[in-house]
């Protein structure tokens, strides 16, 4: 049976797509699934540094597409998990070096070999976005609790639905509970109401994210981190496990949104 192909996208830049890909991929691999993460951010690659694999790159995504190497040659194995791989983006090429059809075919091939293919989408809604979503069956839209990120997320959701990618899930990243409590930040409930797509999880604003990125070791390896636990719960939901939305780990809020999640 073919694996799942998942694109992580947002519209607005810098909201946490790459962080999400790295952490979800790592958790799913820890759960013994075979996972490949594909950096589709051609020209601005980052997944390699977030995973701490920047020194090992020989070939990249564009090399595979152009037939300069076999896809196995471009895959980097994770330092800790031997069933986790990344395919880095090309750093010195343009987004139009790749066609959506080619991405679709590559994702199809990868899904034959891996349980999960997770695609790190670039910001924006142009060519890079179209390439990144072309081969995906499931989309995760990441937003932060800010007006501009939410507006862009809504636009992206519209484009995904128009491209017939309708299995869409929402992650709210960088939620600051203290501010929500004071009423000075939109709550998860507000955001789910506005965007009306099912919630996959909520990640709190956390210094741990910056620290783990500095080290090039995904947060989920660190047991104590709340943001890390939030990503574990998100990945578990993607894995079909039923995880309630109601404790203090970063996604506690109204019961009634449970039904919005169709795992």
């Amino acid at each position: 049976m073919a694996g799942k192909t998942i694109v992580v996208t947002s519209g607005k830049g810098g909201v946490g797509k790459t962080t999400t890909v790295a952490n979800i991929g790592t958790v799913l691999a820890k759960k013994k699934h075979s996972v490949v993460m594909l950096d589709a951010d051609i020209g601005l690659r980052n997944l390699d540094v977030v995973m701490g694999l920047e020194n090992r790159i020989v070939y990249n995504l564009v090399d595979i597409i152009e037939g300069k190497c076999r896809k196995e040659q471009a895959m980097l194995r994770d330092r800790k998990l031997n069933n986790l791989f990344i395919i880095p983006a090309a750093q010195t090429r343009e987004k139009d070096a790749v066609q959506p059809e080619q991405m679709k075919e590559l994702c199809r091939q990868l899904a034959e070999e891996f349980d999960f293919v997770i695609i790190d989408c670039p910001a924006g809604i142009e060519r890079g976005f179209k390439n990144a979503v072309a081969g995906a069956e499931i989309a995760i839209v990441v937003t932060t609790p800010e007006v501009s990120a939410i507006r862009d997320a809504d636009r992206v959701i519209g484009l995904l639905e128009a491209s017939l990618l309708k299995d869409i899930h929402l992650i709210v990243n960088r939620l600051n509970y203290r501010m929500v409590k004071k009423g000075d930040m939109m709550s998860t409930e507000d955001i789910v109401n506005l965007l009306s797509v099912p919630l996959l999880g909520v990640v709190p604003e956390s210094e741990d994210v910056v620290i783990s990125t500095n080290r090039g070791v995904p947060l989920v390896h660190d047991r104590g981190s709340k943001a890390g636990i939030a990503f574990q719960r998100i990945a578990a939901r993607l894995n079909g496990e039923s995880i309630p939305f109601d404790n203090g780990y970063g996604d506690g809020f109204l019961e009634r949104f449970k039904r919005l999640f169709r795992g």
Partner: protein
């Protein structure tokens, strides 16, 4: 502190303000009603109404209103007088 004072004087929490604003923004975005389109719509409404009544051209307002289960297009126009018979339709 400043926020607490503002709140004391009845200002809404900024989170709620944002949610409310986004509700309107997203509705406009989704309906693809750009300012140009809205302007065209206003002019068309005016030209139709003008066949039947004299209108205060400056008074027209077109807004989207969201109820629980519907979105309404609400237009408000000041009428100066109503004609006895409709004028012929202008250029199509």
């Amino acid at each position: 502190m400043l926020n607490a004072i503002r709140r004391f004087f009845g200002e809404k929490a900024s989170g709620k303000v944002a949610a409310k604003r986004m509700q309107v923004v997203l509705m406009h975005d989704r309906m693809d009603l750009t300012p140009d389109v809205l302007e065209c719509l206003k002019n068309d409404i005016l030209s139709v109404l003008s066949r039947y009544m004299e209108i205060d051209q400056q008074s027209i307002r077109v807004d989207l209103e969201k109820g629980k289960e519907y979105t309404a297009l609400v237009s408000n126009v000041h009428i100066k007088r109503v004609y006895r018979r409709a004028l012929p339709a202008q250029n199509a």
